[in-house]
């Protein structure tokens, strides 16, 4: 009997410990790399006796569906990510709590045209993020390639097979880059450019980090990334470099308190820590390489050499990027990209290759019909079969019904895409036959 009683006591004690543990833990959902999260975990756990932080690695692109899927009380406490669209969505679906009281007076509400904090105080800017192209210097030198300066240059045939990028359905960074191209160049031209870049890609990776990883390693030459992923590689001594590409967009990486948090006190303590001077200084660590939002840090002595200047960063912002537009079609753009590009990538690459080969043979004296056929094939390969208006009309219900609707829509897109590629191949073949007599 005493044994049973002891066992009972022990289990009650254990249970108590577990409950206490659950109360002191702050769960932060974030797509940021492990280096950054571990640095913050170490620093925060050290300076705060009452709370400890844990991270859920979460592609920012999926946070809204994840949170809507869960009842309050079963959600993470804090969301921390670069994607303004995700924060807009969270706010629209009423998934955030206001944290105006945590805003620091040293951090301005806006820099130039760029608003750093949410006007209603639902999320606060924590760092700055710009987007551009990262490249491996040795890889490009060994192949006599020059680094590109604009997104258009990435679509040039000379980069064929040397680019690596991720998919917007898995990576909120890529989503932002895709969306900024779509908004900067318009729906149809934007998609054409994106598809041309994708056709130049060696592979579409599953996670954001595989892009900088493969480039630092020199497996692939270049790719679109968010600045800090490139800078951390550069400051760690790898032969890589980075340039903001135009049209570019600078966004604040933000942090917000999730509605339905189990631990609001701890969550607020963590948010306050990330905005404090100590929290901001962590961003300058070489293995992190992020741009702090605290202006005074851009003047400190211990920042890495050739650290970007604040004025350069804010200047490169796309004048009319609208996060609301992006947020309204967030899942659809990602689904469209996957159906058009990710899941058809091998075919897209091989068709592009054939097209390029045929176009190279197209001399000045080539038959006019061949040129027309190739032109038509080019349009078919790089066009998106849906108009901007059609995408806006896909019903926005919730849950299973919505995913059913999207699945049906996707099947249509996929069929159309296959049809387009088949027709394009037919046209290229006809054109090649016409070209044959001329050597």
């Amino acid at each position: 009997m005493t044994f049973l009683a002891r066992l009972l006591c022990l289990s009650v004690l254990c249970l108590h410990a577990v409950i206490g543990y659950a109360e002191s833990t702050v769960v932060v959902a974030s797509p940021f790399p492990k280096e950054l999260l571990s640095a913050y975990k170490r620093a925060f756990d050290e300076q705060s006796p009452d709370f400890r932080v844990e991270f859920v690695n979460f592609p920012g692109a999926n946070i809204i569906s994840y949170l809507r899927d869960r009842a309050p009380g079963s959600r993470p406490d804090v969301f921390w990510a670069s994607s303004p669209d995700a924060f807009n969505g969270l706010k629209r679906y009423d998934l955030l709590l206001p944290i105006t009281e945590l805003a620091k007076p040293e951090i301005p509400d806006s820099m130039g045209k760029l608003a750093l904090n949410d006007p209603a105080g639902f999320y606060l800017g924590q760092a700055l993020a710009g987007y551009g192209v990262m490249w491996n210097k040795r890889y490009l030198e060994s192949r006599n390639l020059l680094p590109p300066r604009t997104w258009e240059e990435l679509a040039l045939p000379r980069y064929f097979g040397h680019i690596i990028m991720s998919s917007p359905s898995r990576s909120s960074t890529t989503h932002l880059i895709v969306e900024s191209i779509l908004q900067g160049k318009g729906w149809d031209d934007g998609w054409t450019l994106i598809m041309k870049i994708a056709a130049n890609c060696a592979t579409i990776t599953e996670r954001t980090f595989d892009v900088p990883n493969s480039i630092t390693r020199g497996r692939f030459g270049l790719g679109p990334v968010v600045d800090f992923l490139a800078l951390s590689g550069k400051y760690s001594g790898f032969p890589v470099d980075f340039a903001y590409a135009s049209p570019s967009v600078v966004t604040p990486a933000s942090i917000g308190l999730i509605k339905g948090t189990r631990n609001p006190e701890g969550a607020k303590a963590f948010i306050a820590f990330t905005l404090s001077k100590a929290g901001q200084r962590l961003l300058l660590l070489p293995e992190i390489g992020r741009l702090p939002i605290l202006p005074s840090l851009y003047e400190t002595e211990d920042r890495p050499a050739d650290f970007p200047k604040l004025i350069d960063i804010t200047r490169s912002s796309l004048p009319n990027y609208a996060p609301t537009v992006s947020e309204s079609r967030y899942q659809l753009v990602a689904a469209l990209f996957d159906q058009m590009i990710t899941f058809r990538h091998a075919r897209l690459v091989s068709v592009s290759k054939t097209l390029l080969a045929a176009e190279r043979r197209l001399g000045a004296d080539a038959p006019r019909e061949a040129a027309t056929l190739l032109g038509e094939a080019r349009t078919l390969i790089y066009r998106v079969p849906v108009s901007e208006r059609d995408v806006a009309q896909v019903p926005k219900t919730r849950g299973t019904r919505q995913s059913r609707a999207i699945a049906v829509q996707e099947a249509e897109w996929a069929r159309q895409r296959d049809q387009d590629l088949r027709t394009a191949i037919g046209k290229i073949e006809r054109a090649t036959r016409l070209l044959k007599p001329t050597p």
Binding site: L15, V18, A22, V27, P33, K34, E35, L37, S38, E54, F55, V56, N57, P59, A61, N62, S65, R68, D69, R70, A71, G73, S74, N136, R138, S142, S169, R170, A202, T203, E206, F209, P212, N213, T216, R217, G218, R219, F220, S232, G233, G237, F238, P239, Q331, Q339, T342, F343, A346, T400, S403, R404, I406, A407, V408, E410, A411, A414, R415, D418
Partner: protein
Amino acid sequence: MTLPATARYRSLGAWLMPGFLALFLLAFFFFPIGGMLIGCFTNDGSALGTTSIAQHMGHPLYLESLTNSIAVALSAAILAAGFALPVALILWRFRLHPPLILELCGFLPLFIPPFMLSLSLQSLLGRGGALGLLVAPIDLDPTLWGLSGVILIEAIHYFPLVLITLLLSTSAFARQADEAARLGNSWWRLTTRVFLPLGWPGLAFGMAITFLKTLDDLATPLSLGITNLLAPQAYFRVFSYGSQDPLSSLMAVSMMVISAFVWILSIVFVRQGSTWYSTTMSHGERTDGQRRHVAFALLAAIVLFYLLCYSGMLLTSVAGIWSHSVLPESFTFDHYLSALETETVSFANTLIYCGIAAGIDVLIGTAMANAIRKSPTRWGKHLTWLAIGLLSVPGVALAIAYLQFFHGMRLPILDLPLDSTGFLLPMAFAIRGLPFALRACTFARHSLPDAYVEAADLSGASRTAIFFRIVLPTMAFGLLMAFVISFGIAAVDLSSAMLLVPSETDAPVSYTIYLNTQTSTGRGTGSALAILAIGFISVVIVAAVALIRRRRRPVSGLKRALFLGNPIR
């Protein structure tokens, strides 16, 4: 008639374990899987029907993934068998049984996730360094191989397993075959008449495991950027649209149906091969020197090949700066330090999750083994097939079924949502490891003669005494083996882990390796962790060898524990 108190107590005890067993299987297998099946056959208006499923079946991507998945898994199994058959034939022909330690290494593919090979080959053959840069104009990067990359990597990974199952099932008549050959029978005749029929069960088993594991593999295709397979598609959809997405359920169900079909097919083959002959050949049996050397050279070549394959990972784990150069510019042990410093928690998690899963497996496995032993033959058979059938449930499918079924449920007292705790992970692991554990437990139960227990009972020993003095010591080795096997299988089960892991700090080591190889500044820490994990497994293997040697009943026990198709009775 009323039973005396002790008998009542005993009958209560006798019902307790089966009750627990039934409850566990209902809650963590039948209900979730059944729920998913019903969900699949539900139309929009929540009425049963096939309109919705028919609609999704026409999805071009679904059809493509389905055919790709079957093609890839089948090709990997055939390719692995193609590699293994000639090697096994040569070893059989030369009557060389690999040393015990190599034989145990043959089971390593079950305990190491195949994506490690993929990552290692990417470092080794990619454009960024090592061999890939040496042969520069030729592009060997595995990412560019497409589906054939997955096939090749899975085949290389599972080749040792197929080889060892083949060797175990053919080893019986090697000496007789040799003597027959001396008497003038041609080797071709012996191969077709003796070697192949003997090898069928082993081959079928090895190929079935390769097929099932390839079909279920999530991390390898993802690491190669391949998405048009069922497992990655289902995984993507769950993350984009939540666990209730109908298309991902359909994909999960399809995977289950294919697996079950292949599993039944392989069982037919295994059973056609009738019984397993117990090994008559002892280790290191003498054959003539010349032939021994050839066979040993072959084994050495295979070991070297695998060392080369994994050298990419080993180099990455000690590389400082390694970027577009044949060898790293600098070497460092920092990755190991940071792996030990920041990722020890993942080792602890692995111990907790897989330990719980293995514990459950041993408990349930023993209960089942006991029930099988005591029940009429027919029922025992059904129970065995039921447990073995669990093997055909892919991890991805099980995880999706869990996410759907336990959606919105909360843990009592703690008031935490079930799917945000690590609770579901050991349960999934336990279900996945149960068929293997059951074999080992049956073996353990077998080593306990009923007469001993009855004799002790009659002479008045208490149940506790019987348990601690007779049952536990005789069964200990088998149970330990069940625990280790179940633990190892759980530790590499990335397919369910990737979907069920609640947070990064709660991830078991295989998933942490996967995450760590995806940081922005190289794969150093992930590779270091992988090497540490492989080192740990090696230590376990060496310990197992020592233990088995001491017991002097080497192969038969291991063999009987691992071959699932052949019920031990």
